[in-house]
Amino acid sequence: MAFSEGFIAAAYIVAAVLFILALGGLSGQEKAKRAIWYGIAGMFLAVVAAIGSAGEQIVVLALMLTLGGIGGWFVANRVQMTQMPELMAGFHSLVGLAAVFIGVSADLEMNRALSAFQTGVADQLSGFALIIAAKTPLELKILKVELFLGIFIGAITFTGSVVAYGKLSGRLSSGALTLPGRHAINSAAILMCLGLGYLYQGDAGLWSMLLVTLIAGAMGAHLIAGIGGADMPVVVSMLNSYSGWAAAAIGFTLGNDLLIVTGALVGSSGAILSYIMCKGMNRSFASVILGGWGGEGQVSASVEGEMKAIDAADAAQALSDADSVIIVPGYGMAVAQAQAAVSELTKRLGAKGKKVRFAIHPVAGRLPGHMNVLLAEAKVPYDNVVEMEEINDDFPLTDVVIVIGANDIVNPAAQEDPQSPIAGMPVLEVWKSSLVLVLKRGAGTGYSGIENPLFFKDNTSMLYGDAKDSMNEILAELG
C-alpha cells in the first residue's frame, strides 16, 4: 500500500506550508484559533504520508500512536494553566529523548546497511537502511556528523528539560547551582563530546555515541541546574529552540526535508523567544546561560525606610476612590492561584465605571506570555491587557496600581541604582502612580534575592498574606 515517492514529497510540502501558516497565524488572538487547525492538519498529513511510505508495522504504529494520543490527551486536560511552564519543559524533554533514540537507531541501521552492502544483500533492505546503502563515503561522513549533532543536542535537551521541569514544578530547588569551576566542567564536557565525535568519524562504533549521550546529558542537567529561577523564561524558550534544532539535525540524518523545515521553524522560534526574554531583562544570552544571579561580590545599595502595611479594608477604600487602576501580575499570582479573584475584582471595578487595565512585563512569570494565558483563563478580556512599552507612560496618571506577586519587574533599582544586579533592565514604572498596593506573602526579598526599594516608597502600601486570600478580602470589603 506504499504511496508513490512523488505523492509523499507533495504531502511533505503541504505539511510544511501548513506549519508555517500555523505559526504565522499566532499574530492575533482570533486568527490563532484557526491557525492551530493548520498545525493539526499538517501533522496529520505528515504522519499519514510517513506511514504510507513505510507501509509496514502498521499494527505497532497504530498501537503506539493510540497509546501516545491517550497519554497526551490525559496530560493536556489535567494540567492547570499555572503549571504550563513545567508542562512545556516536560514536553521538550520528550522531543530530546526521541531525537536520541532515533539517532541511535540510525547508527544501528547504518551499520546493518553497510554490512548488507558488503555481503551483497543490499536489495533486501527497506526504509531508512535503503537510503543509506545508496550513499557515497563522503555522504556517510557527513551523515555521521549529523548523527552526532542530533544525539548531542537531543541529549542536552532531554536532561536540561527534565531539570527545568523539576525546578519549575518545585521538585528541585530553584536556586542556581554553582559548582566550583562549573565553566571548566562544561567546556571539558563539550571537548570530550567533540573528541568522541572525531573518534566516531574514524572507526569507533556505537559506544562512542552512547558515551556522547551520557556526557551531553550530564552537561545539559548541569547547565540548567546552574541557572536561577528568575531566568527560567529564557531557559524554557531556549530548550524549545534546542528541541527544534535536534529535529532538524535528525532531518539531515534521515535526508527528510520536512523534518529540516519544521526543525528550523521551531528552532528559530525558540531562539527569538529567548532573545525577547533576554531583552526584557537587559541581559545578554551568554550571561543567562552561563550562570544565575545572586553571585558573589554584588553589593547593591541597601534600602532605608520602612514598609507600610495596609489592611484589606483600606485597600478596598483606596480602590473605590480611584478612577484608574492598573494591575501588575507576577509569578506570585500564579502560585497563589489568584487570577480568578483578580478577574472578579476587575469586573467589579469596571462595573463602577473605573478604568482597569493589566500591565504585563515581558518576563513576568516563568514562561513567555505566561501571565496572558493565566488572565485569559480567568476570562479577562485581552484588550484590557497591555504590554510594558504601551503602558509605562500611563503610570503617572494612574490612581492605584496593584502589584500581585511581582517583584523584580517593578523594581525601581533597575533605573536608580547603577550598582544593582538588575541595573538597566526595563521595568514597569509603577512607583510613578499615586498609590501602589503590593500584595506579597511576607517582607522578604523576591525570587532573585534583590532588595526592592519600591516597597519602601512613601506611596507604597504592603498588603501581606496569600494573594488569593488578600484579593478575596478586598472583594468582600468592596461588597
Binding site: 505559526l23 504565522g24 499566532l26 492575533g28 488572538q29 490563532a32 491557525a35 492551530i36 498545525g39 504522519v47 507501509g55 509496514e56 508495522q57 504504529l61 497509546l67 501516545g68 494520543g69 497519554g71 497526551g72 490527551w73 496530560v75 493536556a76 494553566m81 504550563m84 512545556m88 514536553f91 522531543v95 529523548l97 526521541a98 531525537a99 533514540f101 532515533i102 537507531s105 527497506s126 531508512f128 563522503l138 557527513i142 524554557v236 524549545n240 527544534g244 535536534a246 532538524a248 532531518g251 535526508g255 526535508d257 523534518l259 529540516i260 519544521t262 521553524l265 521551531v266 528559530s268 525558540g270 523567544l273 515581558p362 513567555p368 506570555g369 485569559a376 478580556p381 504590554e387 512613601d458
Partner: protein, 523 residues
C-alpha cells in the same frame, strides 16, 4: 464640644464655614453644631436647611461666641469682632498670620487657641484640609468664567455656515492649583491654552491638563520647587529677562491672560507689564488672581474691573471663591470638618490639640496665651525631592540623527555577517556533496522564514506559540516511523518508543494549545 459658625461681617464675603452637610458629619464626631442666623443665606443655605440638619440657629454673634467652644468662620476675625469675645475659645478660620501681627497678639491676649486654615502644611496627609487649594481651584475655574464674561468672542473654534471662528488663545501664568484649574477650564471650553511656570518640573502636569508649556531657552536650573513646600521661589535676573522677552513676544497673539503667580510671604511678582498689556489686541482680557497682594499685572486695580485705553479689560477681583459661595462653602466646610476630625481623634466630642502633630502645629498660630507663629519646619518634607539630573529631552533632529547612526551600525554588522556567512557556505559547498547542499538550502530558507513569521507573533500568545512549536517539533515522529520498518528488533523497539513519546507530545501539545487559545476572548 459645641461648634459655632459665625456670619461673615466683611461686605463682599458670601461664604460660610459650615454647611448642613458638614454639620451632619460633625455631629457624628460627637459635637454639637450652632450657627448664627443668616450666616449661610448668601451661599444658598437657609436657616431652615441648617435646622433640618440638626443645627441650632442662634440670633446674634455674641450669643454664638458665649455658647460655642469652637468658633469657625471664613475670614480672619476683625479686631472689633474679637473685642467683646469671651476668653479661652478655639477659633478655626483663614488668618494670614504674616500680615496680621496685631490680630495674633489680640488672640493670644484672649488665651485663644487659633488654627489658621491657610497655614496647613502641604503634605499628603493634610491635603484633605488644605483650604487654600480648595479655594485656588475655585478661583482658577472662576477666573476663566469671568474672563469669558468680558471676552466678546467664542473660546472654541468653530466652522459655521457663516464663516470660520478661530479658537481663542489663553495664557495661564503660574501653574499652581489655581493655574492648573484655569488650564483645565480653558481647555474644556475649547481654547488653545498655553501655560508658563518658573518651575520646569510642572511642565508634565501642564501637559497632562491639555495645555502647551511655554519653554524658555535657558540652561540654568531653577531652584527645585520641592524645597520650598511645593511653591515657586523668586527667579534669578537672567531668567526674569528671558521671561519678559517671551511674554512680549506672546502678548499680541493671546486673547486671555490669567496670572496666578504668588510666592509665600512676599508681594505678588510683577509678570505682566504695561508694555505687554499695550501689545494686546483690543477686546482681550487679563484676569489677575494675585490682585490681593498687589497683582501680577502692572495695571491691576484690586477689587475692580478696568478697561485700558487700547481696549484691554483687566479684572482684579479678589473674591473669586466668594462669587461661587455655595461651591466654595461646601469645600471649605469639608476642609474644616477634616481638621476638626483630626482634632477629635477619639471621635467622642473631646478636642485634643496635639502640638506634636505636624499639621496641627503648623496651623496653630495662638495657643495658651502665646503667639505660636511661625511654626518650626515640619518633619516631613512636602514633596519628594526631584532628581537634579534633569536630562535635557532630545530634540527631533538629534533623535533622527541618532536613529540614523544606529541603523547604519546595525546594517554594517548584518552586512559583515552576510559576507562571512556566504564565504563559509561557499567553502562548505566545495567539499560537501550536492545531496547535502540541497538539504542545506531547505534548512537555511526555513530558518529565514521562521524568523520572519515568528517576529509577527503577538507577545500575549508566546505561551501558545511554545506549545504549538513543541507539538510540531514532534514531527520527529516521521523519522521514527521511517525506521520502524527495520528488520532489527532493537531498532524497531527504539523507533516504537520514539513514536510513542512523540505522539504524546503531538496530542498533548495541540490539545493544550487549543485549550489556551479558546480562553482568549474579546471584551
Amino acid at each position: 464640644m459645641r461648634i459655632g459658625a459665625l456670619r461673615e461681617v466683611v461686605l463682599n464675603e458670601a461664604r460660610v464655614a459650615m454647611t448642613p452637610e458638614s454639620a451632619i458629619k460633625l455631629q457624628k464626631l460627637g459635637h454639637e453644631c450652632l450657627i448664627q442666623s443668616g450666616a449661610g443665606s448668601r451661599a444658598s443655605f437657609s436657616d431652615t436647611d441648617y435646622e433640618s440638619a440638626g443645627v441650632r440657629v442662634v440670633a446674634t454673634a455674641d450669643q454664638l461666641w458665649s455658647e460655642s467652644d469652637i468658633i469657625i468662620k471664613v475670614r480672619e476675625p476683625l479686631a472689633e469682632e474679637l473685642a467683646d469675645s469671651p476668653d479661652g475659645k478655639t477659633l478655626i478660620s483663614f488668618i494670614t498670620p504674616s500680615s496680621n501681627g496685631a490680630l495674633l497678639e489680640q488672640m493670644a491676649g484672649k488665651r485663644m487657641t487659633a488654627l489658621a486654615l491657610d497655614m496647613v502644611p502641604r503634605i499628603s496627609r493634610a491635603q484633605k484640609m488644605d483650604a487654600l487649594s480648595s479655594m485656588a481651584n475655585i478661583a482658577g475655574y472662576r477666573s476663566v468664567i469671568e474672563a469669558c464674561n468680558h471676552f466678546d468672542r467664542f473660546l472654541m473654534g468653530q466652522m459655521t455656515a457663516a464663516g470660520k471662528v478661530p479658537p481663542a488663545r489663553v495664557l495661564v501664568v503660574g501653574a499652581g492649583v489655581a493655574g492648573l484649574s484655569a488650564i483645565g477650564t480653558a481647555v474644556s471650553l475649547g481654547a488653545i491654552t498655553l501655560a508658563f511656570d518658573v518651575r520646569p518640573e510642572v511642565s508634565e502636569q501642564i501637559e497632562s491638563m491639555g495645555a502647551e508649556f511655554v519653554f524658555l531657552e535657558f540652561d540654568e536650573l531653577q531652584a527645585d520647587g520641592a524645597e520650598s513646600g511645593g511653591y515657586a521661589s523668586p527667579s534669578s535676573p537672567e531668567f526674569a529677562k528671558q521671561q519678559i522677552e517671551k511674554f512680549l513676544q506672546l502678548a499680541p497673539s493671546v486673547d486671555i491672560v490669567i496670572t496666578t503667580a504668588l510666592i509665600p510671604n512676599r508681594p505678588a511678582p510683577l509678570l505682566w507689564t504695561a508694555d505687554m498689556v499695550n501689545l494686546m489686541r483690543s477686546g482681550s482680557v487679563v484676569v489677575d488672581l494675585a490682585a490681593e497682594r498687589g497683582g501680577n499685572c502692572e495695571l491691576t486695580v484690586a477689587d475692580e474691573k478696568i478697561v485700558t485705553k487700547n481696549g484691554v479689560t483687566i479684572i482684579g477681583f479678589t473674591d473669586f471663591p466668594s462669587r461661587m459661595a455655595s461651591q466654595s462653602s461646601s469645600l471649605l466646610a469639608t476642609n474644616i470638618r477634616h481638621m476638626i476630625d483630626d482634632l477629635t481623634p477619639q471621635k467622642d466630642g473631646a478636642i485634643n490639640v496635639n502640638i506634636e502633630d505636624d499639621v496641627i502645629r503648623g496651623s496653630l498660630v495662638s495657643h495658651q496665651g502665646e503667639v505660636t507663629w511661625p511654626p518650626p519646619p515640619p518633619k516631613v518634607s512636602a514633596i519628594a525631592a526631584v532628581k537634579k539630573s534633569h536630562t535635557v529631552a532630545e530634540t527631533a533632529a538629534e533623535k533622527s540623527l541618532r536613529e540614523e547612526a544606529e541603523l547604519k551600525k546595525s546594517l554594517n554588522i548584518s552586512g559583515i555577517g552576510i559576507i562571512i556567512g556566504s564565504v563559509l557556505c561557499l567553502g562548505l559547498g566545495t567539499i560537501a556533496p550536492s545531496s547535502f547542499m540541497q538539504h542545506l538550502i531547505v534548512f537555511v530558507l526555513s530558518i529565514y522564514i521562521g524568523f520572519h513569521v515568528i517576529w509577527g507573533v503577538a507577545h500575549s500568545l508566546h505561551t501558545p506559540l511554545m506549545a504549538i512549536t513543541n507539538a510540531i517539533s514532534s514531527i520527529i515522529i516521521v523519522g521514527a516511523i521511517l525506521q520502524i520498518v527495520s528488520s532489527s528488533f532493537l531498532v524497531v523497539l527504539l523507533a516504537s518508543i520514539s513514536v510513542f513519546i512523540a505522539s504524546v507530545n503531538i496530542f498533548g501539545g495541540f490539545l493544550v494549545t487549543r485549550r489556551m487559545l479558546a480562553m482568549f476572548q474579546r471584551r
